[in-house]
Amino acid sequence: MRHILSILVENEAGALSRVAGLFSARGYNIESLTVAPTEDATMSRMTIVTTGSDEIVEQITKQLNKLVDVVKVVDLSEGRHIERELMLVKVRAAGKDREEMKRTADIFRGRIIDVTDKSYTIELTGTTDKLDAFLEALDKGAILETVRTGVSGIGRGEWVLKA
């Protein structure tokens, strides 16, 4: 099962490597990891997408909580939540394909943010599924470069993750 863990960590040098090191040392999967400071400059928020059985994810959560720099951990997938990922894709867009490429980007509500006479750079936000679907909709040979941020997640409603 895929789980989205949201983690508040102390904004300390080395906090990221403690978390990443835990995953590699214990053989847990990281599908994606994002991290940036929060409105409180002393803390960073991480979102980690991982896969594993319920037992493994329970163990991951406990191990994360044990790290001294970790302030809070929640498994967003246990409740209603929103997830988004940002992707930048550079695609070949020359000749007769140029119009088609623009149309596909429009369908997925992508924005063209950079243009040359042979290429477009498209910005796309959405769930991981949506981004995957967009890439599948493109002709493989047309994709020159993709950059994805990994998933960021937040709980729905008024509930907030706080220290």
Binding site: V9, E10, E12, A13, G14, S17, R18, G21, A25, T42, E55, E58, Q59, K62, Q63, N65, K66, V68, D69, V70, V71, A163
Partner: protein, 582 residues
């Protein structure tokens, strides 16, 4: 880390970072620092020399410093402290840090680092200490500002000694140890990201009590957490109150007196038949400060499948130890001592009593397993049997010594045959299984308890891994007794080769052994070689009578002896090999 500081004492003295470090140790009541100097810690050593409260013990290898501090901590329950220099000082210390980490031993390790401006430049004796040690410490810090040093050391002691204990490392760059700051040592620190749960959940404790009272075939399984959590009194009280069988892990030995008839011996890979069979066949299992590790329950699938209706209650201060390898029915996160105290009070206050008839039948079943006498060995052997030596050691020390050990067969025999009556008397590396710990452990113990008998049960291979510490023992007059069960083999390796690798003893023979008697003498100690069973007791008595001398007993034992029972790796607990099977 956010921290609520009490108002800064404006009056604090101005001290150098080095002086601050030492003052912090003395504020913490640290008696001994085990260490080894070098360039990055020169200011700290200078500060050490200017005071008397904290005594430095100069080892001969940083590994020895870490193990000695660890042994001190295991025997006293107080944090062990070590001090080493940057680079090779740190890398030498890593084995000792990892050893303490695996057994959750409270330690504070202070390491020197190259000056802050040189960090990252591949400076002389630079290594990424925080990076190298990260996976084997409870936490670590690099202190870049001298104003943060005192509070960081306070945090280190706090983290090392609370919750599930463990080693914490503080890396101090040389320039930080030279700079000055106002010294203020906080009484308390608060870390918002660190607050171990101490009090068990009342509802869960009630559930546990009910399960225990309803049990037909109960079993109490106690690990090192009960020793670390000072809960042996409560463990013993509960076991006696309920009249339930109790087993200890290698790390839990002494948490119930071995002489108690309810104690069924150690469990696990080299556990007794009665302990392992009772674990496998019980209907309610109470686990206290234990972690169901592979050397204890073997294959977790076999453990579960062999008895799918068994109900498990697990008390541990570390939530991640619960339901890690084995699914648990009633988890109780909390300090084992407090939780057991509550549990005992509940049992005493309630009217329900354990089912006496069922319990009698269960004890009768256990008696049939006990009757196998699984630890029996050839007492009439003309060659010295290692088990016999341990039995004699127990007799000569009246079962009241501190016994340290190294790793191998001798360790298992010491665990099986020295019947520990008290906690913190059995000092060994259970989790990491580090050869070489025995002698430095004995040093740490002897410094803590100068009047106690301290024996190190070792093997001719293990002892050579930290043998240089014989010199430290000379310098500080540490008259420990070394009991070298010399079988001329890495016996435990040889045993596995015999059982699982077609008797091919690849590289496990200890060739070119030194003359240990002469070696001991060269270091200024007493050496005695023992070759006949009839001489064992006399030699032991002589050794312990030499109160102020370190004695190295080189005891030539049966080369072919194996440790039984044995649960082969990956097998289930009831799949033991017994001596009589071969």
């Amino acid at each position: 880390m956010e921290l609520k500081l009490p108002p800064l004492a404006e009056t604090g003295e101005t001290l150098t970072g080095a002086e601050i470090a030492i003052r912090c140790l003395s504020e913490e009541g640290v008696e001994f620092v085990f260490g080894y100097p070098g360039g990055a810690v020169l200011f700290i050593y200078d500060a050490l020399s200017k005071q008397k409260k904290v005594k430095h013990i100069l080892v001969r290898h940083e590994q020895g410093a870490l193990h000695a501090a660890d042994g001190y901590a295991r025997a006293t329950g107080r944090p062990g402290v070590a001090l080493v220099t940057s680079g090779p000082g740190v890398t030498n210390a890593v084995t000792g840090i990892a050893t303490a980490y695996m057994d959750s031993i409270p330690m504070v390790v202070i390491t020197g680092q190259v000056p802050t401006r040189a960090i990252g430049e591949d400076a002389f004796q630079e290594c990424d200490t925080v990076g190298i040690t990260r996976p084997c410490v409870k936490h670590n810090f690099l202190v870049k500002d001298v104003n943060e040093l005192a509070v960081t050391i306070k945090k280190a002691f706090h983290i090392a000694t609370t919750g599930r204990p463990g080693p914490v490392l503080v890396d101090i760059p040389k320039d930080v140890s030279q700079q000055t700051a106002r010294f203020h040592y906080p009484d308390k620190v608060h870390l918002r990201s660190y607050s171990p749960v101490m009090k068990g959940h009342g509802g869960q404790i009630k559930k546990a009590m009910q399960l225990l009272l309803d049990a037909k075939r109960p079993m109490i399984y106690v690990g090192g957490g009960a020793v670390l959590g000072e809960a042996s009194h409560e463990v013993t009280e509960l076991v006696r109150l309920l009249d339930f069988p109790c087993t200890n892990t290698l790390m839990g030995l002494g948490s119930i007196p071995a002489s108690d008839k309810r104690f069924v011996g150690m469990l696990g890979m080299h556990g007794t038949v009665e302990a392992n069979m009772a674990m496998q066949n019980c209907d309610v299992l109470l686990a206290v400060g234990a972690r169901f590790d592979d050397r204890v329950i073997g294959n977790p699938a076999h453990f579960a499948a062999g008895n799918p209706t068994r109900k498990i209650v697990h008390i541990d201060v570390d939530p991640s130890s619960i339901s890690k390898r084995v699914r648990v029915d009633v988890p109780i996160v909390g300090h084992v001592k407090d939780v057991l105290t509550e549990l005992i009070a509940l049992v005493k206050a309630g009217k329900d009593k354990p089912d006496a008839a069922a319990l009698a039948a269960w004890w009768a079943q256990i008696a049939t397993w006990r009757a196998k006498d699984c630890l029996k060995y050839d007492r009439a052997s003309p060659i010295i049997k290692p088990q016999f030596v341990i039995e004699k050691l127990w007799e000569v020390t009246r079962g009241d010594a501190y016994v340290t050990s190294d790793v191998g067969q001798h360790q298992m025999w010491a665990a099986q045959f020295y019947r520990f009556e008290k906690p913190r008397r059995w000092i060994n590396s259970g989790g990491l299984g580090t050869m070489g710990v025995g002698l430095p452990y004995a040093m740490g113990v002897k410094l803590a308890f100068p009047d106690a008998d301290v024996a190190c049960v070792t093997g001719e291979a293990s002892i050579q891994m930290c043998i240089q510490e014989l010199s430290t023992c000379k310098q500080y007059h540490l008259p420990v007794k070394l009991v070298n069960l010399n079988n001329r083999y890495m016996g435990m390796v040889r045993q596995w080769q015999e059982f699982f690798h077609g008797n091919r003893y690849s590289e496990s023979y200890m060739d070119a052994l030194p003359d240990f008697v002469k070696l001991a003498e060269a270091y200024g100690h007493v050496g005695i070689k023992v070759e006949k069973p009839g001489d064992v007791e006399g030699a032991l008595r002589e050794a312990f009578a030499l109160k102020d001398r370190l004695v190295f007993l080189d005891i030539i034992t049966d080369q072919t002896e194996n440790v039984f029972p044995m649960v082969p790796g990956g097998k289930g607990m009831s799949e033991m090999i017994l001596a009589e099977d071969l």
